[in-house]
Structure formats: C-alpha cells, structure tokens
C-alpha cells in the first residue's frame, strides 16, 4: 500500500469550541435526550433480537425534527446504551442482546449460574463505561492520525486480520479444538450462501429464491445463541433460570476489584476495541472476541476463563464499548463509517446537510465537539442509569423459566423479522436454534460457527481484492499478500495465535514439572541447600 503524502492540515482550534460545546451540553433538552437515549438504548440492546443498528436506525427520523447537534447527541446516547445493554441479557440468560455481546456470555453466564449475577452485571457496566471513555479519548485527541493509519488497511491487511480473528477459535474452543475448527468452517460455508461477492453469481440457494439474500448474521446469531439457549434451559428442567442472591456492597466490591486487579486487562481490551472499531468493516463482535482471547492468552491462569471470572466479562465489555469511539473516528474525519451503526449516524448527518471531513472540526466545530463531549457525558451518565436498570433486569431471574423461555422465542422471532422484514429470517432463527442446540450436545462450538458466519464474507471479498490487485504487481499474489509492514505483523500474530494452544500446553507442563520438583525436594530434606 503506497503511503500517500498528504498536505499538512492546519489543526482546528479546539479551544474555540470548548465553551460553546459544554454550554450546549447543559441545555436541558440535550440532557433529557441523553438520559432518554441511554435508557432506551440499554433496553433495546438488552432485548434479544433488537440490535444497536436497528435501534439507532429507527430513531433517525425522529432527529429530523430536532436541530442537528441534539439529534446527534441522542443517536450517540442510543448507540452507547445499546452496546452496553446487550451484556445484560448475555449475563442473565446467556443470550447476547446485540452481536457484540457474544464474548460476554462466556464468563457472564457462568457467574449467573453461580448466583453472582449482580457481580457480572456491575462488572459489565463499569467496564463498558471505561471502554467507552477510552474510545472517545482517542476520538477527541488523535482522530486525524488514527484515521490515516486506518486507511493503510486494504485488501491484504484486512484478509490477514480476519484470519487472525478466525484463529482465535483455536484458543477459544473450550472442548475439542478439532470440532471447533470444523464448526468455524461450517460457519464460513454458511456465509457463502447467497450471491458471491466477486462474480455476483448466486450460490447454494437450494432452489429457494429467498435464499438468494444469504443468511444474515444477526438472525443466525439469534438462532445459535438465543433460541438454542431456550431449548437448553427448558432441557435443564429447572424452575428458575438461576438463583439470584443480591448481596449489599457488591457494587463497591466489584469496582474495587476492577480498579485494583484489572487495570491492565481493561486498558488492553479498550485499546483493541478502539483500534478494531477504527477499521471499516470490522466491528464490535470481532473486537470483543479478540480482546477476550488476548486476555486469556496473557493471563497467569488461563483456565479460569470460561468458568465465570470477572476478567473475562471486563475484557469483552470494555472492548465492545471502546469500538464506539473508534468507529466514529473515520466516520467524522473521512466520511467512512467504522461500523454499521456509524454508517447509520453518517446517513443522518448527511441528511442534515453536514459534510464529514476534517473541516467538520472547524466549519461545524461546535456540532462536532458537542457530540464528542456528549459521548464523554453519556459514558459517565450510563453508570447511574445502568445501575438502576440492572436492578430491574435482574428481576427477570425471578420469573419462572417457562415464561422467560416463551418470551425469548417471541422476541427472537420479531427481532429477526424486524431487520429486513423477511420471513426467511424467522426460519433462520429456528434452524440455527436446532443447529446450536444439537450441535452443542455433540460438541460443536457455536461461538466458532458464529464467528465463521461473520467473517466469511469479509475473507472472501478481501481475497477477491487481493486476486484483482495481483494483476498489477510483478510478484503476483504472494507479493501483494506480504508486501506491507502491517501485513507482515499480522501474519506473525496469526502464527503466534495458532501456536498458542501448544504454548499454553507447554506452560502447563512446565508448571506441573516445577511443582513436582518442589514436592520431590520437600520429601528429601537432606538434599536441601543450607
């Protein structure tokens, strides 16, 4: 990728806009919009079937009646609330409310099963707020430089990044790595149903015309996680979803633990989230899974992940909220959205006649800074509002399992249908629900499958781009794939990632060896050195 020299841009004078933006924030209308947006966003995010993208898209028409900065503030609040809200149902009923909360189920649900749902809920709340603030911090101070960096990711770089994301399956599969890999391959295969991204030819439609639109990611995930969970929960024949014993002081204790022991994890995951969010194409789901796996890879005691540890929830949730700030970076500075929700917000901006680009910080500076500062405010406001809503949502656990299960089915159907008004999506939910349930019983890994469905189109598209680009370079395909510095780094990361299971195994062996040696030494006191 040729690094193009851009003329040095005169940095906008941020200081001119600080006072007017802060004054805008204190405007009662804006405060009301932030609160309502947050609350509404959290509820939409928490409902399985309704995603952040849909929540924001549905509210866009309402912003036409307001002035642009208020409209943006509201949309931003909904975005933040929804991405956090997805963790609530992920924790309480092992059903990610939004796709980006998938990784939160890995440790959030075991915590609930142990009766510690409140710990999990508070962890995700505080981690989300932290991640969100880190993301906005980068948006405020480093937008320009980061946006330029994000542009260096082209076909080859994105291809390697997606493969790296896929490779995390190797680390992730709790059971059998082989089954995990094949599940991932099945997910990738399912993503090929529909129109091929490189030649425009329909594939695997099995004679049914409606399959030409392919299997959308969100209904597939609703099926794999929500609907299959319904079958699983009913199968356990319990009266309630889980025991719920709220103990006083949990919030303070969780906060202290996070501040004390999880600083590195929170920071690393937030950085991963911001960075992945910046890349057009990669979004919250990938960021949170990569962050979770990185935390697991570098942890002193990796086996505790998946059994219900605070660290797991913290890494996933801080990453997916950091994505928000990251995705807004290229959206505001270059008009290129870093996530699906950012794309919707961009559409709203343009409908109001606001041009994205570097001059958004100078010509419409007040609007831009009001929006950015509102994001800071929203992340802080989220803590009290989320806290109250946590209490309400946890009451779900007091409902009988049967009713919760029935409710999830209905919500899954309408949530899937609402995305593209397609009956096919409802059937996707049903079919993948069965696949997830029976597959789970057979040892298949639904997380890998979901990851395959998400990453499949991106991998194939980028591979196609590489093949096209290869015509213009003498070295052909290998040269294109390994040309840039970023590609080399990603390939190295990929190799490391694939080697991780063996490295972890070695680590375990060495630890066992060490403890065995110590035991031997203890049993032979005459050999101890003075």
């Amino acid at each position: 990728m040729g690094a193009t020299a851009h003329p040095a841009l005169k940095e906008p004078h941020m200081t001119e806009f600080i006072i007017p933006s802060l004054l805008n924030l204190i405007d009662p209308l804006n405060i009301a919009l932030m609160v309502i947006g947050l609350a509404g966003g959290i509820i939409i995010g928490a409902l399985p079937g309704l995603s952040a993208t849909m929540g924001v898209a549905l509210m866009v028409p309402a912003t036409f009646a307001m002035d642009p900065s208020s409209g943006l503030v509201m949309l931003g609040a909904i975005y933040v609330g929804a991405i956090y809200g997805g963790s609530n149902s992920a924790v309480l009923i092992c059903t990610p409310g939004t796709p980006s909360a998938v990784a939160t189920t890995f440790d959030g649900w075991p915590l609930t099963q142990r009766g510690e749902a409140d710990t999990a809920l508070y962890t995700s709340l505080l981690s989300s707020a932290f991640g969100g603030i880190v993301g906005v911090f980068f948006l405020l101070f480093l937008a320009g430089a980061l946006a330029r960096f994000a542009l260096q990711f082209g076909g080859p770089e994105n291809f390697w990044l997606c493969l790296f994301g896929l490779s995390t399956i190797a680390v992730m599969s709790p059971g059998n790595m082989g089954k995990g890999i094949v599940s991932g391959a099945i997910g990738l295969l399912i993503s090929t149903i529909g129109i091929d991204p490189n030649a425009g030819v329909p594939r695997f439609t099995f004679g049914s015309y409606s399959l030409i639109q392919g299997i959308s990611v969100i209904p597939c995930m609703i099926g794999l996680f929500s609907f299959s969970q319904v079958l699983f929960l009913i199968g356990t024949d319990k009266t309630f979803v889980a025991d719920y014993n709220p103990r006083p002081g949990t919030f303070k204790r969780t906060a202290a633990y996070l501040a004390g022991r999880c600083k590195k994890i929170l920071l690393r995951s937030s950085l991963i989230g911001t960075w992945v969010g910046m890349l057009p194409g990669a979004g919250g789901e990938i960021a949170s899974i990569i962050a979770y796996n990185e935390s697991k890879r570098w942890a002193k005691n990796p086996s505790v992940y998946g059994t219900g540890c605070i660290e797991g929830v913290a890494s996933s949730e801080s990453a997916n909220n950091a994505v928000i700030g990251g995705s807004l970076i290229p959206m505001l500075t270059l008009g290129i959205p870093g996530s699906a929700v950012a794309a919707v917000i961009l559409g709203a901006l343009m409908a109001h006649g606001i041009q994205p680009g570097f001059k958004i910080f100078s010509a419409t500076g007040e609007l831009a800074y009001t929006f950015i500062f509102s994001q800071f405010a929203v992340n802080l406001l989220m803590i009290p509002i989320g806290f109250v809503l946590c209490r309400c949502m946890a009451k779900l656990l007091t409902l009988r399992l049967t009713f919760v299960a029935i409710g999830i089915v209905v919500l899954s159907y309408i949530g899937a249908y609402a995305i593209s008004n397609s009956l096919l999506d409802i059937w996707v939910v049903v079919v993948f629900g069965f696949v997830g349930f029976f597959g789970g019983k057979l040892g298949m890994d639904t997380g890998s499958m979901a990851l395959g469905v998400i990453l499949g189109p991106m991998i194939e598209e980028n591979l196609g781009k590489c093949l096209d680009l290869a015509h213009s370079v003498p070295g052909g395909l290998p040269s294109i794939m390994l040309d840039s510095g970023i590609s080399k780094v990603l390939v190295a990361a990929l190799a490391l990632s694939l080697a991780t299971p063996y490295l972890l195994h070695l680590k375990k062996l060495r630890a066992q060896e060490r403890s065995a040696r110590c035991r031997c030494a203890d049993e032979r006191p005459e050999n101890e050195n003075a």
Binding site: L58, G178, K179, I181, V182, A185, I186, L188, L189, T192, D196, N198, A199, V201, R203, F204, F206, F227, V230, L231, I234, G235, T236, D237, T239, R400, T402, F403, A405, I406, G407, V409, V410, Y413, I414, Y417, A418, N421, L423, I426, W427, V430, G433, F434, F437, G439, K441, L442, G443, M444, I459, E460, L463, G464, L467
Partner: protein, 153 residues
C-alpha cells in the same frame, strides 16, 4: 450420551453437511468455487476423523460412561414443536394472533400445574395479554416496525 456416540454423530453430521453442500456445487465455476470447495474439504476431513474416532472409542470402551447432565427431552421436544408451529402460522394468521396463541398454549402445556389447572389458566392468560400489549406498544407504536400480517393482525 456416551462420548463415543457424541463423536460418531458429530462426524456423521459433518459428512452430511459436506454432502449436502457438495451436491449443490455442480454449476459453480472459477473464482466462485474456490472458497466453498476449500471449506468442504476441511469439513469432510473433520467428518471422517470424528466418525473414525467415535467408532474407535466405541470399540475400545469397556463400559459406557455417561458424562452429561440429564436432559428433559420431552419438554424440549414440546417447545421445539410449538415453536415450529408458531413459525409456520405467523405469516398465515398475522404476528399478534399467532404470538398470542403460541404464548397461551405453550404456557398451558408447559407451565407448573402444581397449583391446579385454574390457576395456571389465569396466569397464562395474564401473561399472554400483558406481553402482547407490551410488544404492540413498543414495536408498533413506538418503533413503527412492520410485523408480519396474515389474515388477522
């Protein structure tokens, strides 16, 4: 389920999936074919591997070890069947009609009958009405999301 059965069934499903998709690959050519073909190879190999492993395990194990928690298959079957029916009628009868029917009948069928049928009927009916009203208010009124419409609403 015994571990060997799990592996065996898993392997067979993998093979089944590769056969299903493989049959559809006939008229694909060129760049369209590359990616799915590579995937099918991986899945088929996995299928063979796990089928083999399952058979080997079955051959080697002296006593079958059950390592799963008990599953209430009857209940699972019930809710699965109801959900399938629900998906089938949702376009015929309209979303709210089918949802009400689904919620009511599933609650009655699967609910806790320990406090008598009458009590259950009351609870199921209340749940149905409350839930549907909430759905209607939030989806149709607040969010203006179109719902499948059939004969009724």
């Amino acid at each position: 389920m015994r571990k060997s059965t799990t592996d065996l069934l898993c392997g067979l499903s993998f093979l089944g999936i590769s056969a299903l998709f493989g049959a559809q690959m006939m008229d694909l050519e060129g760049v369209t074919r590359v990616f799915p073909q590579a995937l099918l190879v991986v899945i088929a190999i996995g299928g063979l591997w796990f089928t083999g492993k399952g058979l080997y395990r079955r051959h080697m194990e002296s006593k079958p070890e059950c390592d799963h928690e008990p599953v209430a298959w009857k209940k699972v079957g019930l809710i699965a069947a109801m959900s399938l029916l629900y998906a089938l009628i949702v376009n015929v009868l309209g979303f709210f009609t089918s949802s009400s029917l689904f919620i009511l009948f599933t609650s009655l069928l699967m609910g806790d009958k320990s406090r008598g049928m009458g009590h259950l009927v009351k609870i199921s009916a209340t749940f149905t009405v409350v839930f549907c009203v909430l759905l209607w208010v939030s989806f149709v009124k607040l969010l203006s999301v179109p719902t499948p419409t059939g004969m009724f609403f």
